[in-house]
């Protein structure tokens, strides 16, 4: 059994190597980071474009089965990523109904899966933001003669802090997941390898330096997300 000194030295060496990769601007590291950011941003933007209006519409309208929709959305917020990965693997694989699209093991394929993961978060948090908005807001829009589309846009603007927070939280969820990226991307080097799949692979190979370097990037993204949320909350207050 190695003693504590050896453990610490191993960690320090790994960290040193990780920082060397980061500040040496290693191409392979930055390509992985870029792939992660690209697929996550693509999924989040699409989820925001569809999810924000959908959240507002569900919040503002009363319809039969609304409570079922709300329960479903809450359940989907806790959707296990491997379940989404499995489902979309079945859909996108050659034998699957969408196999002809050729999306399996592509960055776009990962984005599709991540979009499905992100949209319940965006819809649910937008819905919560609108439901907690001042009821006089919609009334004021109406009495000033706004059309339904103008009302919707004003609601987004007035709830911009909460809506931005919804999108940021969704981005945080998709960039840090591993199941979908692994199953739909296949972890192909230089093509679909993301930060999380690379960390999983490199750690299983015993290559901690690259794993740690990517872990530091992932932590930086989490830090940036939390900083944005903090600033949003402060500016709202």
């Amino acid at each position: 059994m190695p003693h504590d000194g050896a453990n610490l030295s191993f960690l320090i060496t790994s960290l040193h190597s990780a920082f060397t990769l980061i500040f040496g601007f290693d191409d392979s590291v930055y390509f992985i980071v870029w792939t992660s950011l690209k697929v996550s941003a693509c999924a989040t933007v699409l989820a925001a474009v569809l999810g924000v209006p959908l959240g507002i519409l569900i919040a503002l309208n009363t319809f039969r089965g609304k409570s079922i929709v709300l329960v479903m959305l809450n359940t989907l917020m806790a959707l296990p990523t491997v379940v989404v990965g499995l489902l979309f693997y079945a859909l996108l694989s050659r034998r699957g109904p969408l196999g002809d699209l050729g999306l399996l093991y592509t960055p776009l394929g990962i984005s599709v899966g991540l979009f499905v993961l992100a949209i319940p978060t965006v819809v649910n948090l937008t819905l919560a933001a609108v439901q907690s908005a001042d009821p006089r807001l919609v009334l004021t829009c109406k009495l000033l003669g706004a059309t339904p589309v103008q009302q919707l846009w004003k609601l987004v603007l007035e709830s911009r802090f909460a809506v931005t927070a919804a999108v940021v939280v969704a981005f945080g969820r998709v960039i840090s997941e591993v199941g979908i990226a692994m199953m739909l991307g296949g972890n192909i080097r230089g093509f679909t390898r993301t930060m999380t799949t690379a960390i999983a692979l490199e750690t299983s190979k015993g290559e901690f330096e690259l794993g740690l370097a990517l872990g530091i990037f992932l932590l930086s993204v989490a830090l940036a997300i939390n900083a944005v949320l903090f600033l949003l909350q402060r500016s709202r207050a």
Partner: protein, 331 residues
């Protein structure tokens, strides 16, 4: 004379019993109408119906002769300006708030800003344009909301308790502005208010609402006040009425004119309420005698003409009023 509003058999409910139930109501163009009534009497609901924000389940509304249908809702809504009792200002500058309605109507940026500045000047807030709207006081916010309504040049201006969140100066300024707009531009104004005195001085006509229905005249002996001593006493500031059972809420007290006994001497037995006053009016009405008594508040009492001591009543007589407990109600 052109009719601004014509309401026929209107009924609107929020799911329960009708919040308003109006057989017929007409408002002429250029008229100032005050809606007076206690809380929950339907004033705000009626204003929302008149602003085409709420669609009555039953009945017909004509606005300047045009029948209101769902199809012309937006067109009619854009012809009416409503000042909410507690208005909502957007999270932006005062000028942007006032200009927003204009932008919705396609008025270009600079023109909208100039018009918004003029509207702010009209309500006495010139120089406030660059301020963050949410940082203003209640009275200032109310005036910004008024400017936001006025800048759209509505055919009818609806005001919901305009002086509620205003300081005295703002309230007086608003009243003066409403009067000016009415006189100079012939603007039709309908305002809901608790302040019966100011309503009567400003309005051409006062409409009394109670439980969603229109009364031609105010119910007799309707006094505004507050509850005291854990709801056991209702004080109008001039008289105090002891209640049979403690009440939780009520802004008005109503004493049925036919349930008040008039005594020429103080009551021999202990009674819950007795008010000493002077007869200030006497008239005959459908076989009954209507007596007006100044007992701090001005009471109206109806008594049977065959009531013996009636002949002893004359203007200036001192009397004692004893309302029966079941004739007293809070609202």
């Amino acid at each position: 004379m052109t009719t601004a509003y014509s309401l026929t058999n209107i009924e609107y409910s929020y799911g329960g019993p009708p919040a308003i139930e109006i057989g017929a109501l007409e408002v002429a163009q250029g008229e100032i109408v005050a809606l007076v009534g206690p809380n929950g009497s339907g004033k705000t609901t009626l204003l929302h119906v008149l602003a085409f924000l709420e669609i009555p389940q039953i009945g017909e509304i004509r606005f300047f002769g045009e029948e209101f249908r769902k199809g012309n809702l937006l067109t009619l809504r854009r012809k009416v300006g409503l000042l909410l009792q507690n208005p909502y200002l957007f999270h932006e500058t005062v000028l942007a708030n006032v200009a927003w309605g204009l932008r919705l109507r396609g008025v270009s940026g600079q023109k909208a800003q100039n018009m918004a500045s003029q509207a702010l000047e009209l309500v006495g807030l010139s120089g406030f344009g660059d301020r963050y709207a949410r940082s203003l006081s209640g009275g200032e916010s109310q005036r910004v909301a008024l400017a936001r309504a006025l800048v759209l040049d509505p055919a009818v201006l609806l005001l919901d308790e305009p002086s509620n969140h205003m300081d005295r100066e703002s309230a007086e300024r608003t009243e003066a502005l409403v009067e000016k707009l009415n006189k100079e531009q012939g603007k039709t104004v309908i305002m809901a208010t608790h302040a019966v005195d100011s309503a009567q001085s400003l309005a051409h006509r006062v409409i009394h609402l109670r439980q969603g229905r229109v009364f031609r005249a105010a119910p007799d002996n309707l006094f505004r006040g507050v509850l005291k001593e854990q709801g056991a006493i209702f004080s109008t500031g001039k008289i105090e009425v002891r209640l049979e059972a403690p009440a939780v809420e009520g802004d008005f007290i109503c004493i049925d004119p036919s349930s008040i006994d008039i005594l020429l001497k103080g009551p021999q037995l202990e009674v819950m309420n007795v008010f000493r006053g002077t007869v200030v009016g006497l008239s005959a009405e459908n076989g009954r005698i209507r007596v007006e008594v100044d007992a701090g508040e001005r009471f109206r009492v109806t008594i049977s003409s065959d009531w013996d001591p009636a002949s002893q009543l004359s203007l200036g007589s001192e009397v004692f009023l004893v309302p029966k407990p079941d004739g007293i109600s809070l609202c």
